[in-house]
Amino acid sequence: MSQENIEAELQTALLNKIPRYFRASGGSAHGKTGVQDTEKFAELLMVLQECALLVGERLEMNAVSYAYMYDGDETSGFRFDQSSDPANPQVVGAIQNRRVSMREFTVGLNEYMEGVKG
């Protein structure tokens, strides 16, 4: 994908306020909207995962399946891809510059996982 296409993809997503999807596993993240946007997701993934683990650690709720948040007008989050190899679990996530219901956000992630989107 050329730099122009990447930039166009990011601009289209931002303009139409549609989710930008990412996939992460083994310490690396991949997306279609450029390095900076993917880095943003990677940082968000780390923060959210840490938050989820910290909250759940003493409640014996350790296996995190998803974590979402509203940050101003932005919806972001991730969920584990249950169809991925347990030895190398994959995570799918998204950032959307609009507050959408978390149910809608989940549906989007599920569709992306199933290959409908992205």
Binding site: V47, E50, C51, A52, L54, V55, G56, R58, L59, E60, M61, N62, A63, V64, S65, Y66, A67, Y68, M69, Y70, D71, G72, G77, R79, S101, M102, R103, T106
Partner: protein
């Protein structure tokens, strides 16, 4: 706000859908909790959430809702300034409905606190008014009308009382009383402590 009032409001939320626990906190203090966990675990969750809130604030992020899913259940955290409402539920389909109800509760709760504080201020002001002397009316002799500056205009000066050459600095008549939090928020005082880094 009384604990019974909180209990009544959150009782409705707790009985809704698949909700099985609620924690209301302010900063790192638990205001109310009704969860199937031991108190030390509740305290831990509240402390961790305070650290998370501190982190986001430091990063200039305006995070007002978090949702976490685990193998043993789901957690929705609604954040409104220093107040946090944590709701534990079983079905992840209910995030939005629970978050909406939790936000409504937090707004009501803070309005209740504001109303109680306002009422307390009002009562205190009335009590002060009852003990203060009646304002003295100015007698006609004290009003001295000088020559007009321009035709049609007059300068009016009030003669000072004997023994008062100059006026004292202005003081507010009533000072805002120190807020005495209700029983529900009595424990919600911030305590300095080391914060963990995320």
């Amino acid at each position: 706000m009384k604990v019974e009032t909180i209990q009544s409001s959150l009782g409705g939320l707790k009985s809704a859908g698949s909700v099985f626990g609620v924690i209301l906190s302010r900063e790192d203090s638990v205001i109310y909790s009704d969860v199937p966990f031991q108190q030390d675990r509740v305290n831990h969750v509240v402390t961790v959430l305070d650290d998370i809130g501190f982190y986001f604030k430091k990063e200039n992020r305006r995070v007002d809702q978090l949702a976490f899913g685990y193998d043993g259940g789901n957690i929705v955290v609604v954040i409104d300034e220093s107040y946090r409402l944590v709701v534990f539920h079983s079905l992840n389909d209910e995030i939005d409905f629970i978050a909406k109800a939790a936000k409504a509760f937090l707004i009501d709760y803070q309005m209740g606190l504001f109303a109680a504080e306002f009422e307390q201020d009002l009562n205190q002001a009335r009590a002060l008014e009852a003990v203060s002397p009646e304002p003295r009316s100015v007698t006609p002799e004290e009003v001295k009308i000088q020559e007009p500056l321009r035709p049609g205009t007059q300068r009016i000066t009030l003669q000072a009382e004997k023994g008062f050459d100059k006026t004292e600095p202005l003081q507010p008549r009533t000072q805002r009383p120190v807020t005495t939090p209700s029983q529900a928020t009595a424990t919600a005082q911030p305590r300095p402590r080391a914060r963990r880094t995320i």
